[in-house]
């Protein structure tokens, strides 16, 4: 009985460790390859340790890659942060209206909004391109931020959250003479922080990794976001320097790793929030 248990334990660890290595190895390889040259990257099994070309790859990334990786990180941060803040605010305000007020057409409006969730985002690509071009916003932050402020899922999530917000608390605040806006900003919002941060994280992630729309609307390398900048690296040279490309990918990954380590709990609950329906 005891030996059977031991075998089971060993099996458990072996399988988990295999999955663990498969998950982290490509990331490790990405960082390692950023320090290698093409011969090292495509040589026979040199994949385990750092190479000698870090400085050269870095120089090439800065001077010959056609992109500025730090500018791209800055662009991505500004765009993702702004659209996340705007999306969380507008979605929670709308969710609050649907949850706590009774007004004409509230049901119909909510159903139309949810119905738009069925339409895949690619449908709006061409009209948005025409619209944003007409507004003169090509190559600007606004071109990416404005469409990203719409979070239908956020409206849904916040409506669900605010439904269970105690009505007694709202009434007490009204008796104390607080206006409707004051109730929302000073009582409802501070008490809903966990859901708001969960929504913020998933909105941020979606904006951070979005490739297609920025690819279409940004054509000046100084306005590139990280995904767009990285996607151009392969095409800039006839004989690509693979180490340089991996170095760029590694540098671009660092902000997200830092963010995750700082906000680990919120990340998990953000991802889970989509499933607790």
């Amino acid at each position: 009985m005891r030996s059977r248990r031991l075998i089971g334990d060993i099996l458990l660890y072996v399988v988990v460790i295999i999955g663990f290595i498969a998950s982290i190895y490509p990331v490790y390889w990405m960082f390692v390859a950023g320090t290698q040259n093409n011969q090292q990257i495509f040589g026979k099994l040199p994949y385990l340790w750092f190479g000698s070309s870090l400085l050269q790859n870095y120089k090439e990334l800065m001077l010959n890659s056609g992109i500025n990786i730090y500018q791209a990180i800055l662009n991505s941060l500004i765009i993702s942060l702004s659209s996340t803040i705007l999306a969380v605010i507008s979605a929670s305000m709308a969710g609050y209206a649907f949850a706590k007020y009774h007004f004409k057409l509230s049901k119909t409006m909510f159903q139309i909004i949810l119905g738009a969730l069925m339409i895949p985002p690619q449908v709006t690509l061409i009209p948005l391109f025409i619209l944003v071009s007409h507004l003169g916003l090509v190559n600007t932050y606004w071109a990416i931020i404005l469409p990203a402020t719409i979070s239908i899922f956020g409206v849904y999530l916040m409506r669900q959250t605010f439904y269970s917000f105690p009505a007694e608390l709202l009434e007490a605040a009204r008796i104390d003479g607080l206006k409707e806006g004051g109730i929302f900003w000073r009582i409802v919002i501070p008490l809903s922080r966990p859901t708001l941060s969960a929504l913020g994280i998933i909105t941020f992630l979606a904006s951070w990794t979005n490739l297609l729309w920025p690819l279409v609307i940004l054509n000046d390398s100084s306005s590139y976001t990280i995904p767009v900048a990285l996607s151009t690296l392969m095409g800039t040279q006839t004989q690509p320097n693979y180490g340089m490309i991996m170095l760029g990918a590694s540098i671009a990954t660092v902000p997200m790793l830092i963010l995750f380590l700082a906000l680990r709990r919120n990340f998990i609950s953000g991802i889970m929030s989509g499933y607790n329906r």
Binding site: P26, F98, L125, L146, T149, I150, M256
Partner: protein
Amino acid sequence: MEQTVKLSTRKKPFRPFKRRTPYLFLAPFMIFFLVFMVYPIVYALVISFSKWQGGSFQFAGLFQYSQLFQDSIFWQSLVNVLIVLVIQVPIMLILASIFAALLNSKRLKFKSIFQLGFFLPLLIDSVAYSLTFSFIFAENGLVNDLLGLVGIHPINWLLNPFWAKIAIIVAITWHWTGYNIVILLGGLQSIPDEIYEAAKMDGAGSFRQWFSITLPMLRPLLILESVLSIIGTIQLFTEPFVITGGGPGNSTLSPVLYLYQVGFQQFNFSYASAIAYALAIIIAVFSFLQFRLTRGGGRDA
């Protein structure tokens, strides 16, 4: 949920709010929603029924759609993503449910470190990991070197229509399995321990427990995950765009990549909009099937 609804509707506000208050709360969202979503959705439909002639869109009825219906490249792109999702989604969900169960095991130590590792792929940008996988699958890249160790001849992954799809499947699976593990772990933690203890009393081993308790309890989550994965795979773009460019010979072209090529390399906006709406219909069908499937699951549960 129903209870809380009743709670909030039963108690009328102490002092009636001004009539315009809810509309003020709705305004910011609705303005963005109308300008950047409703208007584009309607406009895309209009464009898809038109043709660009003499500097403006002219109504052309179903012209674009009849073109699309006969377009073998479009059909191939659809078949490509269908092949990918038929193979990839089941493999990913099986892997995710196995690893979620193992990571939830009481006998496993260093859980948080392991979980962190499985979560890591999710933090890597899609373009960054696609670039990494395109090098790993290069002709003299890591995968072929490892295969060489066990005596398998190198495979020309990215230049062979079949193996290029496999490379993309491996890449997507690597990126998304951890995400599904996180969701399933949440589901597992809500299964009461008593059920497992009762099963143990009845002499059920670990595998038996996994099949008879864990899997059925996770079924609603697994159905939801599979639907979201299917919809996500139909919208595949970044991986084929970066890893294969849709090649070789359109064998990894996805509908969205095709839409991108038609819309922004050939600048045929009408045709691209027709592709987008065809995609919307296909996704709607899958969503409808999900609705039926989850309803069915609720009935016999």
